[in-house]
Symmetry: C2
Subunit: 331 residues, 2 copies
């Protein structure tokens, strides 16, 4: 295992210290927790927005803490859901009296732990609502999930729900727009190489030198097919077509596109992919409103990428364009 | 070679198409060139700012094209200097009558080709000045360079000279502030793994499973020492101390810090490094004004990182904080 770390068991704490050191003016770590929150949290009368999940997906989720996006992010151990008590601390820290909204990726552990925290918070008199993101069209169930997995489309939920909350919307309005994003967003990924969880010390799966896996999850969960590597154009077309087959995005629609690197894919390759994704969408009569290319939801040093399409309407466009001071998604 | 590309010989053209498709509102590719320029270039009476170099360092340099930073970026083949005629096209495209300023990384090919383009442009009546960035303290000469190499510190030159030009400064003022950044910026890197140039098909060097190289360049040029991997804290301290030994940054100074991932280092590890860099600087009485953690100047899929320290004064701080719409460096 080649990693730039100290103790594999301290990697999340070391990372959080480094994040706060890099952003002292804007974020804080809640004492004795793995929660990163805005320095000025809670914002009185604003809905507090909380997300989180296992670590190893950076910049998700702490990179999205900032004005216009999340109020707090809860970090679990690498690829492991944060515990309910950690989520509860985040909820309490961002409650400014208007309630708290949770953005949960659809993994069994995350859903259980965030929902339990939600109940504990409500017992303390805090109103909590949530949405479960399940944008990955690759498989219906997986080793970590009942139903579809939540992957890079989650970032659009943070962005749009975050803008709505920042504009002063009530908890049910934030929930309603977040649900619309979840209904309109679809993603699919592929990988060339696995990744290694520091505490495990070896890759969680193997791919041969000429192999790729289509539809893989952000923890290396199985996809649809393991096969010989093809060209960037062929891979891009296959992913876009699988997403379009889901029937949400059609001729005449306007979409936001995200080409998300999983960790060690050069940005050069992500742009090569985007060229073909863009061409394919134009051919289908789908208008690209905005494109985001980069690392938004990673899987440690996995090589590969995902494509996300979000169908837009006027309100979603305006919320997508609204200002954000989160380090990983500045608008 | 596991890469998401089409034809290895078309990878730069495919990438540039994908970049333009992702940023149609803000950038354009000059016809039949590898030059990316702002859509609205030239800006009348503003100094035009041009940088560039070999591809494979994305987001450098096209990701820094935007209001407040570069007016154009010239892309060579992977790890290969762009030709003088390409640089000349960029200069001509951004000349708004106030002259053009070139930011050149110190590699023999880049220096020769940018200077030749500069002479050709002057023969056509365009005033051109330049600065050569040589921030890498690791080695004095290398396989590609006479003198020190230009690496991630270049991004601070783009940012600060770009802000100065955007504020309407004259060519000699832009040059003067760029020279001050070059005088004040120092960097050093390390790598855990090599990278593979697509057209070559195999890694340019080898590192054993337990080895790292300290002081390596962004094309894999030799560093100071190849040795057993140590902890993130030890590596971070070693790099910071080597930079400080250069004698530019001292007790009482204020600095901007960049922890730059070389391509496949998880952001988690960059933050672990930043934690120790920050601690080391505090111990030395050096105040951290701002920290940038991410991939700014990469080497394809090389694993590793560099640390950059820029000594600041009031003007440099204000220019660093000035607005930028470049996709890879939004302020």
């Amino acid at each position: 295992m080649k990693k730039i770390i100290n103790d594999p068991n301290m990697v999340v704490q070391d990372m959080l210290k480094g994040m706060v050191a890099a952003n002292t003016a804007t974020i804080k770590q809640l004492p004795e927790t793995t929660v990163i929150a805005r320095c000025d949290a809670p914002t009185i009368n604003k809905v507090g927005l909380v997300s989180g999940g296992g670590s190893g997906h950076e910049p998700a989720h702490a990179g999205y803490v900032g004005k216009g996006m999340l109020d707090a992010a809860v970090a679990g151990e690498v690829f492991t859901s944060p515990t309910p008590d950690q989520v509860l601390e985040a909820i309490k820290a961002v409650d400014g009296g208007a309630g708290v909204f949770l953005v949960i990726k659809n993994y069994t552990g995350d859903v259980l732990n965030f929902e339990m925290a939600s109940e504990l918070a409500e017992a303390e008199g805090i109103r909590v609502e949530h949405v479960i993101v399940n944008d990955d069209v690759a498989v219906e169930d997986s080793s970590f999930t009942t139903g579809r997995r939540g992957i890079a489309g989650t970032i659009f939920v943070h962005k749009i729900a975050g803008a709505k909350a920042e504009q002063g919307a009530a908890l049910d309005e934030v929930k309603s727009v977040a649900e619309r994003v979840v209904a309109n967003v679809r993603s699919m990924g592929m990988a060339l190489t696995p990744c290694t969880v520091p505490a495990a010390g070896k890759p969680s799966f193997e791919l041969k030198e000429n192999e790729m896996e289509i539809g893989i999850g952000i923890h290396g969960e199985s996809g649809i097919e393991r096969k010989e590597i093809s060209t960037a154009d062929e891979i891009a077309s296959e992913l876009v077509n699988k997403i379009l087959e889901d029937g949400i995005h059609e001729n005449g629609d306007e979409v936001a596109v995200m080409i998300n690197g999983l960790g060690s894919t050069p940005e050069m390759e992500l742009y090569v992919v985007n060229s073909k994704v863009n061409e394919t969408l134009i051919e289908k009569g789908i208008h690209v409103y905005k494109t985001f290319v980069g690392e938004y939801m990673t899987a440690l040093e996995m090589a590969g990428f995902s494509v996300t399409l979000l169908k837009l309407d006027d309100e979603l466009k305006s919320l997508l364009d609204f200002g954000s001071e989160a380090p990983a998604f500045r608008v």
